[in-house]
Amino acid sequence: MSTTALLRADRLTVHIGPIAILSELSFAVHAGQVLGVIGPNGAGKTTAVEVLSGFRRGTSGDVLLDGRSIARRSPTQRVRLGLARTFQESPCIDGLTTGDHVRLALSAAPQRSAKTSVAAMLERVGLAEHHSSAAASLSLGDRRMLDLARALACFPRVLLLDEPFAGLNSEQEKRLEAAIRSHTNAGGGVLIIEHRLALLRDTTDTVIALVQGTCVAAGSMQEVLDDARVRSAYLGQAG
């Protein structure tokens, strides 16, 4: 593991009025690593991803990609620098086909994507047959896979995945796991917010637990789940 983290969150803080959604949150994703993020609903997990990807400005704190601060960069710039994300709601553009969404990402990074085709990308996520269908007509699970394909088509170094396993069937789960594996094997990093713990256990090396905007535990999945605060706030178990 390299000493410089691929992606580092440095004391991220987000305030809305007096309420702190994120409070001095720090963590790092290294090359080849999958970092899991768990926490109860409303703990600020998605907010953290929003700040990391540039869709939301933090009140204070820094985001570093390869050791360089990107806190002032727009979301588009961050994508070009190698940071891609998926969305919990898997939004899509009305009027564009499934293939179009992937083509959009590929065309924005022509030099990296020269060898890949839209068809190959869609094949990877199991959407090849929906190439010309309206993206808005896809089922939820398929839209999630499209969101993943779009993120992968940015050829990122770091992938931020927000509850990617929700709503997927078992074949799609396998494809997602394969995509994560090949991404990390190639030296990329992944941050994944998830509730489906069994699946997360199989994919991650390290896990952090977010409760009310701060990291209360970090370590392997078992260590984190054994933490008392995590057990009560997240698993709903006393002590």
Partner: protein, 248 residues
């Protein structure tokens, strides 16, 4: 051949809450649900499992009056035919769909009140009050605009909303999606309490692991057919689930 429901009535026991015979749903030419026959008793919690595209959402949508179906449907022994979700709600069937249908610009309270849209305003407000006892996490967020909630919190609002009109049958489509384990366990306990009040609950989900501990009956759907039913099968839940995973 007499309907099982008729036989039951003849025997003096109450008719099943929900009874379907030959229920089929067509998407254009495609038969998404094929000739489903099932009787579900009052106060039962039923798990409906199947992979994406198996037809479980379509089946729920048909029962909730969202899409037309062919075949017969009885509620408490009375034949029914729905023209719209409003008809279904008036008959006491309410659904919480997979896309939740939360209004982002309205507050939590307003969203919940909308769950009782067929009721007079005051009655709906009263029922929301009662419901907050069962969903305590929402009480503190009543005046928060739904768009500001996290995904999981919105999920909970949608689920609570399904119970506002105090329906006889509640259909939940993938309720665990996006919820933390604590929230899921809480939801299931709430659901069990509702079932004790006599509400029939049908939960469609893919994640069987948390589901099977808290349901009374398991129905397995594949390719639009009802292929497994723990009420008539000699298999245990585990065996049925294993079979389900091996089905094409």
């Amino acid at each position: 051949m007499a309907r099982p429901a008729d036989l039951q009535r003849a025997a003096g026991s109450p008719p099943p809450r929900v009874s379907a015979k030959g229920l089929s749903v067509f998407h254009g030419a495609l038969e998404a649900v094929r000739a489903v026959d099932v009787d579900i008793a009052r106060g039962t919690t039923v798990g409906l499992v199947g992979s994406n595209g198996s037809g479980k959402t379509t089946l729920l949508s048909a029962l909730a009056g969202r899409i037309p179906f062919r075949g017969d449907l009885w509620l408490d022994g009375q034949p029914v035919r729905f023209g719209s979700p409003r008809d279904a709600l008036a008959r006491g069937i309410c659904m919480c769909p997979a896309n939740r249908g939360i209004f982002f610009r309205m507050t939590v309270r307003e969203n919940l009140l909308l769950g009782g849209y067929t009721l007079p305003w005051r009655e709906a407000a009263g029922r929301v009050e009662d419901l907050l006892d069962r969903f305590p996490g929402l009480r503190s967020r009543l005046n928060v605009v739904a768009g500001q909630l996290s995904g999981g919190e919105r999920q909970q609002v949608a689920l609570a909303r399904a119970f506002v009109s105090r329906p006889g049958v509640v259909l939940l489509d993938e309720p665990s999606r996006g919820l933390s384990p604590a929230a899921t366990a809480q939801l299931l306990d709430t659901v069990r309490e509702m079932a004790r009040d006599g509400i029939t609950i049908i939960i469609a989900d893919q994640a069987i692991d948390w589901l099977h501990q808290r349901i009374d009956r398991l129905l397995v759907v594949a390719n639009g057919h009802l292929v497994g039913d723990s009420a008539v099968s000699t298999d245990t839940f585990e065996e049925l689930c294993a079979k389900y995973f091996d089905l094409p």
